[in-house]
């Protein structure tokens, strides 16, 4: 039988160490909404989302009460809209109407974000995919709740450099379109290599075509719990360190599994996956950088950071895999700069640079995430940064991503303020040398060889 110490430990994690369920994300396939009439398509999308997700918020609130565990976000992901709108949308403006429909549907059911305003041009780009990408400045500046992602590369297809070049220009335009809010629009767009079909975390969530009609995916979070466990073993060796992270990750993931199964039961929607990612928030005690510091680094970004992050990422997975039979999504430690107060401090004092972040992305989840750079950064430099990150993902057979914000009117020394869970970010220095001619080449970088691993 459960004893008092076990109960107190679990509740301490929730109350003092910010253990929470970061998101319950309801994936909805919109494939059956497709029509060649734009009006009919918009009606179908609105009806399907509002009907399928009508009980999402109430089910989430019931679970919060039953287990006294905060569920921070309830969200929706849909089939990539470039596929859904391909038949009806002839122009970028047509796609914007779908963005507005998604925004209305999200507002109606009470979710704060809806992901899947997405395109997957990792090898070639259809006209519809190009139109959707071109619609992003308008779509992201005229809606509140839309999140967008574009898969530019994969280990199987290589890197679509035409799409990489286009995204550099589009990201600059989104920054311009939302310049009155520190170019906030860019924080709702992520570009991927090897994007997973079942990621519950925004901004990159979409409901892949390999998924069923509807699915419940859950993302748990507990950086504070891991840090607290590590504080109790300050001088222990690496074996003990790894074991401690693994055991803690097990407990955190079991919570995710419980919530996912309960949400699935209440909504009568199949349970998909638990995402093991450790996701920070800007509040103190909910930070990945604090874990790295607790391992013995003065600041995130110091020599040893990549190794420390590799340990954290691997042990979280090892503990999580034991705890849930259905693990998926991104499943790793997130290192968004603006959303983690330890990372913000490290970037502000010069300990953390974009180049070090890039190295860190080789061993952890996602990539250059919520990184603010000077507004004067050129489109081709943004594309060059994206291409580097795509290459890391492609060669290492992992998911990598870039969510970069060239903040209009700000430069190194300034800080961009995004507010809420998006936090704030010191503008980080970008290497000033040009890659114009490299990006201007166009075409595709072929898929890498899968043998002779060195």
């Amino acid at each position: 039988m459960i004893n008092l110490n076990e109960v107190l430990e679990t509740n301490k994690m929730i109350e003092k160490e910010n253990l929470d369920v970061r998101t319950i994300t309801l994936g909805i396939s919109l494939l059956d909404c497709i029509s060649d009439s734009l009006q009919k398509l918009n009606e179908n999308i609105y009806a399907k989302i509002t009907e399928t997700a009508k009980n999402l918020i109430s089910a989430g609130c019931q679970i919060e009460k039953e287990y006294a565990i905060p569920i921070v976000n309830k969200r929706i992901s849909v089939t990539p809209i470039a596929l859904i709108g391909a038949s009806a949308c002839k122009t970028p403006e047509d796609f914007v109407t779908i963005a507005k429909t998604l925004d209305r549907a999200a507002q109606k059911v009470g979710v704060n974000f809806i992901g899947g305003y997405s395109a997957l041009p990792s090898k070639g780009m259809t006209k519809a995919e190009k139109d959707l990408i071109l619609s992003l400045p308008e779509a992201l500046s005229s809606t509140e709740r839309i999140c967008s992602s574009v898969n530019l590369a994969s280990t199987k297809t290589g890197i679509n450099m035409d799409a990489v070049a286009l995204m550099g220009k589009v990201i600059k335009k989104i920054a311009e379109a939302t310049k009155d809010r520190d170019s906030f629009g860019c924080s709702k767009l992520v570009v991927f290599c090897n994007a997973p079909d079942d990621n519950p975390f925004m901004a990159g969530a979409f409901h892949g075509v390999t998924e069923g009609d509807t699915v419940i995916n859950v993302g748990v979070s507990g950086p504070g719990v891991i840090r607290s466990a590590l504080e109790e073993i300050k001088d222990a060796d690496f074996t003990t360190l790894c074991e401690t992270i693994k055991k803690t990750a097990f407990k955190v993931t079991r919570l995710g599994q419980l919530v996912a199964i309960e949400a699935s039961r209440l909504l009568n929607i199949p349970f998909g996956i638990v995402d093991l990612s450790l996701a920070p928030t800007p509040i103190v005690g909910d930070s990945i950088a604090e874990i790295l510091e607790c391992m013995g680094l003065e600041k995130a970004g110091a020599p040893g950071t990549t190794a420390a992050l590799a340990i954290l990422n691997d042990q979280v997975k090892k503990g999580g895999i034991m705890a849930s039979s259905s693990v998926g999504g991104l499943s790793g430690a997130f290192i968004p700069v603006s959303e983690d107060h330890g990372m913000i401090d490290a970037a502000a004092c010069g300990a953390l640079t974009i180049e070090k972040l890039e190295a860190m992305t080789c061993v952890c989840s996602v990539g250059l995430d919520m990184v603010a750079v000077p507004g004067k950064t050129s489109a081709s430099t943004v594309s060059g940064i994206i291409a580097d990150e795509m290459a890391i993902g492609m060669v290492n057979q992992k998911t990598t991503a870039v969510r970069i914000i060239p903040v209009v009117g700000k430069d190194v020394g300034d800080t961009a303020e995004f507010g809420g869970l998006f936090g704030r970010c010191p503008i980080m220095r970008v290497n000033p040398f040009s890659c114009d001619a490299f990006i201007a080449r166009g075409g595709r970088i072929p898929a890498p060889i899968h043998s002779f691993k060195n």
Partner: protein, 90 residues
């Protein structure tokens, strides 16, 4: 039978257990196990209870206990037992 766990945390004083137990008795909630300890002057109690006979639903009981806690200066929570079983047992 779905079991739930009630936890009571607060500054130690006379009558905490009595007040919580009378609320449970009025709500026809059966107590299966009680353990308590005092750490640094703070009262920590855990009860394992069975809600099957209760005329109230889980949310009503949860709100009732929270209000009772406010009245006696304690934090009282009720949680379904699964969360502890899942996190603390293989």
């Amino acid at each position: 039978m779905k079991k739930s766990i009630i936890t009571v945390v607060g500054k130690d004083q006379i009558g905490i257990i009595a007040k919580v137990c009378s609320y449970l008795s009025e709500s026809r909630i059966n107590i299966l196990d009680i353990s308590q300890t005092i750490v640094g002057g703070y009262f920590n109690m855990m009860m394992i209870v069975d809600l099957n006979e209760s005329q109230k639903n889980f949310l009503q009981i949860s709100d009732g206990l929270e209000a009772l806690g406010k009245g006696i200066g304690c934090i009282i929570k009720i949680q379904m037992e699964d969360i502890f079983n899942e996190m603390q047992r293989l």
